[in-house]
Point group: C2
Chain length 390, copies 2
């Protein structure tokens, strides 16, 4: 049965087809490094003529670079194509109570620079925002890229953030509620995305951490602060009112003060900021009181995590935050408690992304936004690349 009628497709339809093919070819090249034409034809499912044609356009518009390599024993060099990931950059910021961190990546997500600036909970709002600006500027300087090549900025911060990128609530920083992060960071027209820090840590784990093969995960943030965040179907789950995974009003959890179990076993002269680490070290050395304290702490954290697990049934629970570095003494009691509390215990892993995890998640958010703007279908033909294409 013939599947085509006798008609000729209209010009508008062909333009749409063409734009679709541009995205398909670009995605095929990005997915496989530096593929040759035959590979792109195979991966895209398009005809060779169409692929050659789109490739020429994408090279002319500076999205792709053509590379030629002589194949041994043959006269003609093989042509392959590379996505020009250096055409633009994204910056991820982590604006916290004690530090501002920045990560700069190219469009492929490769980290080109990281910086950190210390602040304190008492740092005034204006100065914290200025620290963020300087962290961003430090990154571009260290990476040797002009600031205008930063196409998008993602920012994570403690507390609740609204859809407009303003901080609604932030218990850890006195004058932070009301800060207009999107307004400040996007003041020269740059694309800015703002989100809660635990949520961005969860996104980072799913995109480039220990949870890349899990579409659904719960992140348990364990550190000076505690928190939960959800990634479902590969996307951050923020909730209808931005309050997803906020268990603060549920009775019987009492996980937020649980850090006191750890603080109580360290000698009185150890500063508060170091006590938890000391408790973990003592537990590691077999100290009985410290091991009991870690077990109590784990029990309280497990109850909160189990609540989220029972509701969404994720494939993985990731232990994040500073205490993920004590995974060797924390994971075992955490897993034992979860086995008691969950009909299905998800796989349990500790983050390995370290202190930059929130900034990395913020960069992922910024890169997603760039992709969405530039590479999604129904956005018209891909533009010619200049220094600022977003």
């Amino acid at each position: 049965m013939p599947i085509m009628g006798p008609s000729t497709p209209a010009a508008g339809d062909l333009a749409r087809l063409r734009q679709h093919n541009e995205r398909v070819v670009l995605a095929a090249v990005r997915a496989s490094g530096t593929p040759r034409v035959a590979q792109i034809v195979a991966d895209s499912g398009l005809g060779r003529t169409a692929v050659e044609d789109v490739l020429a356009t994408l090279v002319a518009r500076r999205w792709l670079v053509e590379e030629r390599a002589a194949i041994r024993g043959r006269g003609r060099p093989a042509r392959s194509y590379r996505f020009r990931a250096e055409a633009g950059c994204a910056v991820g910021l982590d604006i916290g109570a004690y530090s501002v961190r920045a990560v700069l990546t190219d469009l492929a997500g490769r980290v080109l620079a990281t910086t950190r600036r210390p602040v304190s909970p008492q740092t005034r709002r204006r100065d914290r925002l200025a620290a963020a600006d300087r962290a961003l500027a430090d990154c571009t300087r260290d990476a040797g890229v002009p600031e205008r090549r930063v196409w998008a900025v993602g920012a994570g911060t403690t507390g609740l953030v609204d859809r407009a990128g303003r901080v609604v609530r932030a218990n850890a920083i006195p004058d932070w509620a009301g800060a207009d992060l999107a307004g400040h960071l996007g003041r020269d027209g740059r694309l800015v995305l703002v989100d809660n820090d635990s949520q961005l840590a969860a996104l980072a784990e799913q995109r480039r951490g220990v949870a890349t093969e899990a579409a659904d995960l719960v992140l348990l943030h364990a550190g000076r602060r505690t928190g939960l965040a959800l990634v479902l179907d590969g996307r951050l789950r923020r909730g209808a009112y931005g309050a997803a995974a906020d268990l603060s009003a549920l009775p019987g959890l009492s996980w937020e003060p649980a850090i006191e179990y750890l603080h109580a076993v360290a000698p009185a002269d150890v500063p508060v900021a170091d006590r938890a680490e000391r408790a973990f070290a003592a537990a590691r050395d077999g100290d009985r009181r410290a091991r009991t304290a870690v077990r109590r702490y784990a029990r309280a954290m497990a109850l909160a995590a189990a609540t989220a697990i029972a509701v969404v049934d994720p494939r993985m629970l990731v232990l994040g935050g500073a205490f993920s570095q004590a995974a060797d003494v924390l994971l075992e009691p955490l897993g034992a408690e979860l086995a008691r509390l969950c009909p299905q215990v998800p796989e349990l892993r500790a983050s390995t992304l370290g202190a930059d995890c929130v900034a990395l998640g913020a960069a992922c958010l910024a890169l997603d936004a760039v992709d969405e703007r530039l590479l999604a279908a129904d956005r018209g033909p891909l533009p010619a690349l200049t220094a600022r294409s977003v």
Copy 2:
């Protein structure tokens, strides 16, 4: 800047474009009833020639019916097109402890027949399956459609169902665990989808109940059994291991025995099956003991619902199950408790779908599967319609 190169698209690309256009036109017609060509052109974004051509094909393949109506004062009748929803049917089954219900719909989801057959928890597995077969047959007979026009069957049942459509666990029916529902209902090659009954009730609320404008909802099933189910982003959230919204192992909830508060206030000679209804009636009449019992019941249910709400932050909480008919006395204390327990209280509504809600959700699931098979992109050209096209 010209967006087209000088090349001619390959035949394969044109076939794909054609298939895409077929779906777009079919979706445009389905979305707007009986549109004229100009409307379809506007809604689809395609050119008129392409639309005319695809319409002719879809009429020839019996997906669409062309209708001509004379416009007053003009000579030429206006052509409009209607989706032939009567071409196929879907059946939704609710296989429960006390009854088997069936709903038969056309491809547009219009209900053509409903039936109910009584069973009991002690009914043997073989007989319960036979009751499901008879309920389905009764429906087709009542609607006057041949059984072969049933393209897909959805089935909801109590307990945990695995991906293969087998019952894994069913506390409410002694010999039900192990029942191969998909195998039994699909034995003559029919498309069969099986899911948990509370989940299908949630789907029904989102598609055709009180939650059609909410992409995210939590359903609180209140009745002889209790349960929770999630719809997120318009889709059932089953969880990575099929255990989403299963709070049975969390401590401190004790919502499952809460129905005893209601049972305790009815006179001793009232049969158990009628006691809750009697308690609600007494509360409605202002009886103080009954009102206290309803409040206690609502408090226990609210704690379970609040747990799910705190985790996923849905737009709406729907009170479903048989007790949704007591919404006039239940909603107020439920809402008051939720306000205490949730940082963000979602909108609270009672189901109005009645006893057929699970069967309706099952029919929705079956219709989704038909759409997915026939109408999704990348499935090749739409087939010519015969009695059995799935």
